[in-house]
Every structure is written in structure tokens, then in C-alpha cells.
């Protein structure tokens, strides 16, 4: 089937219109940014509605709109249900967000916490894991931008990827976290309205009974509740999602930025509202056979189904929804990773005497440099979105226990935490190559837990919580 459903001119017009809108909005919000805390943490005063929307929008990524249908196409029911279990990360982070804000009212990054809680070497291992994941996610988002445009408009992959990166870098640079959060709110409303509309049309046009009966006849394994690889995927995805959220500065920066006592409620609500989204975006992939859609690669199934269901006008709508999903995550990741580079790498390793004004400047340069590096890494379309994303699972799942024990127990020491992250990641990568992507995060998390437990038994440390207040 011909996947090109809107003209190149239309694609450019939408990109230009939304690009100008987001950048102008970012500039307008950025005018009130006077300090480093304003730029990095939106003045540490974000209210409940914006807090819930930004947590939700950031977690609805191109992966939710493109990979959820891809996984449903490959793993069936467990693909979409497994993906929706990633909401557990948001739900479980809710109490942690409150504790983070209470323990470190003046903190800026998750790196601050690891450095003060576990010391230098654990901090270095954590930074490597965290930056690797951040680049993996940034590249997967940049690539998704290119794939979306080429699937829907026939535009060259490189042009689409470049346009999305430029727009997000510009408004994040101008408005900082305030721009990221405000645009996230608008983007959440666009995304939710869009996916719901597509789902309604899918149900009306094809019918759930037709989808179920066609899948039962042609690919019954997609409805198999005991599909082994899919069940492994479900558990793997739970740990992957938890690891992604627990360790990433995207979420820690929000915990620092939300108003006092808002974090817990906001993350709980965002988790509950996020949970159905992968099912809503994913189930349409089960209609592929009924609609005679056979994608050239699995990660194009979502846009192709939507375009087939909605036609030309609908394809424009899909384009806007996926573009919003991409932007809402890309901006958050750019801002949070730039915080890590500014506070942990620049201030922590390069220039310890840097004042807040200097860090304000470095923060902006970091966003720009991150954009350029991501663009370079996205140039060769290296792998499918799902494969890239799952590769990073081996890294992030190793941080779950060091973070949890670090926040709630005084006893775990720096050597134990560093070893747990390093060996957990190594074993997760071995499992990724020897068994499959669907066990990488699971293995990494289990190995990390065993090492943390050993460390707790072997050495008893009494960490003073008040040290984190500095």
C-alpha cells in the first residue's frame, strides 16, 4: 500500500504553523525567567493541573503512539496491556516525588541525590547510565519524527527529523521548564483528543467484533493470553518503565519543580490517566488484517492504520497528534538532560566555582549542544524504535533498587549502589544479546536487587538524611 497520505506542502505547513506557535509560546513564557531556578525548575511552584498534565504528556511519547501499535502488532493483547503497565512507574514514583521534595527542598537533579547519598563513584556510574538512557530516548524521539513524516507525507526522513529537533530545541531554549510544562498541557489535550477520536472511528468503521474475529482466524496467537514471549515482555516492561521513571532527571526535575505536597497527587493522577492510552493507541494495530494494511516495517503500523481509517484530513490530524507527542517528550528530555550536564558535569566536574549566572548560561548552551548531538546520532536510521528503546532497558532497570533503598533506607552504601548499577547493567546487556530484548530490564533489575541485598547484609551504614538538605 502507498503510505503517503498528505502532500509534502501540507506537512511543511503544519510543521511551520506549530513550530511558530510553540516557539512564540516558549519565548512569551521565558520572559519571566530571571534565575537558574526559574529556568531549570519553573520557579519550583508548579500547580496541580499543570503538574499532572506534564507528567502525563512526557510519558505519552512517540513510543506510546508508534511503539504501542507496533508491539500490539507483534505481541497482540499483551503488547498493549504490557505497555500500559508502564503507568506503574508514574504511580510508584508518586510517594517518592513527595519524599524527594521533602529530603532535598533545594535540589536540582537526581545526580545531586546520588552524589550526596552514595558518593563519587556511584555518582559516576549513575551519570553514565542516565546519560546513555537520555541519548537513547532522545535518538528514538528524533528518529520517530523522521519516520512519522516519511510515513505520512513522503518527506525525506532527515528533513522531518531535523525540523522536529529544531523546533523543540528553540522553544526549550527560550522558555526553559516553564515553556516545557505549559506546552505539555496543550499537547496533552491535543494528543488525548486525537487518540480518542481515532479509536472511536476505528470502532465505528471496522467494529470490535470484526477485529476480534479476523484476528482469531488469521493470527490467533495475538489473542493468546499465554503467549510466552509476550508475557516476558509484560514483566520486562513493568521494570523498564519503573527504571525509566525512578532514575531519570526528567521526573526528578518535576518532583523539585512541583509545589509543596503536589507531587504525590499529580503523579498518581497522571499514572491513572496514562494507563489506558497504550491500549487506545495499540488496539487499532489489531485491525491491520481487517483493513488489508501490511506495513513495510512494524513501527509504521500506527500511522498507516490511522491514515487508512481517517483518510487525508484524518492523516493531517494524526500528524499533529504524533508531532505533539514527540514534542512533549523531546522538550522535557532536552531540559532535564541539560540540567544534568549543567549541574552534574559542568558544576560537579569541570568548574566547581561556577555561580548561578554562569550555570544559567551553560544550561542554555547544553540544550543547544544536546540538540546537535541528537541530530548527528539520528542521521543514520540505525534500528527500529522498539529495539533502541528496549536496549536502554538494561541500563535503567539497574538503578531502581539503589534509588529506592537510597531514598528510604540509611543502610545501603556507595560501593553497593555502584556495583548494583554496573553489574545489573552488564548482566541486562548480556541477557539482551543472548536471550532477547524482552528480558534485558528484568535481568538487570534482579541482579541489581541481589547485589543491593548483599551490600545491606555485608556493611551497615548509617546515612544522615539531613546531609541531603545542603
Amino acid at each position: 500500500m502507498n503510505s503517503v497520505v498528505i502532500s509534502t506542502e501540507w506537512a511543511f505547513t503544519i510543521l511551520l504553523a506549530f513550530g511558530v506557535l510553540w516557539v512564540a509560546f516558549g519565548w512569551w513564557l521565558g520572559r519571566s525567567n530571571k534565575s537558574l531556578d526559574d529556568f531549570m525548575l519553573a520557579g519550583r511552584n508548579v500547580g496541580f493541573a499543570f503538574a499532572s498534565a506534564t507528567a502525563m504528556a512526557t510519558w505519552i511519547t512517540s513510543n506510546t503512539t508508534l511503539v504501542a501499535p507496533q508491539l500490539t502488532y507483534q505481541f497482540g493483547i499483551w503488547g498493549m496491556v504490557g505497555y500500559s503497565m508502564a503507568a506503574l512507574g508514574l504511580l510508584l514514583f508518586a510517594p517518592m516525588a513527595q519524599r524527594i521534595k521533602a529530603l532535598m527542598p533545594h535540589g536540582h537533579t537526581c545526580g545531586d541525590f546520588i552524589r550526596m547519598r552514595y558518593g563519587f563513584w556511584a555518582w559516576i556510574v549513575f551519570l553514565i547510565v542516565s546519560l546513555f538512557y537520555a541519548f537513547g530516548w532522545l535518538v528514538s524521539l528524533g528518529m520517530a519524527g523522521g519516520i512519522l513524516l516519511s510515513a505520512l507525507s513522503g518527506l525525506d526522513y532527515h528533513i522531518g527529523m531535523t525540523a522536529i529537533l529544531v523546533i523543540c530545541v528553540c522553544y526549550t531554549l527560550l522558555g526553559g521548564l516553564k515553556a516545557v510544562i505549559a506546552t505539555d498541557f496543550v499537547q496533552t489535550i491535543i494528543i488525548l483528543s486525537g487518540v480518542v477520536l481515532i479509536a472511536y472511528i476505528g470502532i465505528t468503521e471496522v467494529g470490535l467484533d470484526t477485529i476480534h474475529s479476523t484476528v482469531s482466524e488469521e493470527s490467533p496467537q495475538l489473542l493468546n493470553l499465554l503467549f510466552p514471549a509476550a508475557i516476558m515482555f509484560l514483566f520486562n516492561n513493568v521494570f523498564f518503565g519503573i527504571g525509566e521513571i525512578f532514575h531519570s532527571n526528567v521526573w526528578w526535575s518535576r518532583a523539585f519543580a512541583f509545589k509543596e505536597k503536589i507531587g504525590k497527587r499529580a503523579f498518581l493522577l497522571s499514572g491513572m490517566l496514562w494507563m489506558p492510552i497504550p491500549i487506545v493507541t495499540g488496539f487499532a494495530a489489531l485491525a491491520a488484517s481487517s483493513l488489508n494494511v501490511y506495513p513495510p516495517s512494524a513501527d509504521m503500523i500506527g500511522p498507516l492504520i490511522a491514515a487508512k481509517l481517517l483518510g487525508k484530513i484524518g492523516a493531517i490530524f494524526v500528524f499533529i497528534v504524533v508531532f505533539s507527542a514527540l514534542a512533549s517528550s523531546l522538550d522535557s528530555l532536552l531540559a532535564a538532560t541539560s540540567d544534568l550536564i549543567t549541574k552534574d558535569i559542568y558544576k560537579g566536574l569541570i568548574n566547581k566555582q561556577a555561580d548561578k549566572q554562569k550555570l544559567f548560561k551553560i544550561s542554555k548552551y547544553s540544550i543547544l549542544i544536546l540538540g546537535v548531538i541528537t541530530w548527528i546520532l539520528c542521521l543514520p536510521k540505525m534500528t527500529t524504535l522498539g529495539a533502541l528503546l528496549n536496549f536502554t532497558g538494561a541500563f535503567v532497570a539497574s538503578t531502581i533498587w539503589p534509588i529506592v533503598f537510597g531514598l528510604y533506607y540509611r543502610r545501603l552504601n556507595g560501593v553497593g549502589a555502584a556495583l548494583a548499577m554496573a553489574l545489573g547493567t552488564s548482566c541486562g546487556l548480556l541477557a539482551y544479546w543472548l536471550v532477547g530484548f524482552y528480558v534485558a530490564a528484568l535481568t538487570s533489575c534482579l541482579v541489581s536487587l541481589v547485589i543491593c541485598l548483599f551490600a545491606l547484609v555485608l556493611k551497615d551504614q548509617k546515612f544522615e538524611w539531613k546531609d541531603l538538605q545542603q
Binding site: 493541573a49 498534565a53 502525563m56 493483547i77 516553564k178 487518540v195 476480534h212 494507563m275 489506558p276
Partner: protein, 40 residues
């Protein structure tokens, strides 16, 4: 063991229903925060 049509229908309709309520709820919450001047 395969997912029956009944459970498939329940799964999809509840997901779509929740997703429909989400944007409405977020807009209402934002209006409340805005009214109380607590957006930021």
C-alpha cells in the same frame, strides 16, 4: 487460552472511556487552578 470477545470489548471500551474523560478532567483542574491563581 485466548481472550474472548466479551473481555476484549470490556478492555477496549474501558480504555477508550477513561481516555475520553482525561482531557476533560485536566481542563477542569486547570480552570480551578487558574481561578485560585495557582497555575504556577
Amino acid at each position: 487460552m485466548y481472550l474472548s470477545y466479551e473481555w476484549f470489548e470490556i478492555l477496549i471500551y474501558s480504555a477508550v472511556g477513561l481516555a475520553t474523560a482525561a482531557p476533560i478532567l485536566l481542563i477542569v483542574l486547570a480552570l480551578i487552578d487558574w481561578k485560585k491563581e495557582q497555575l504556577w
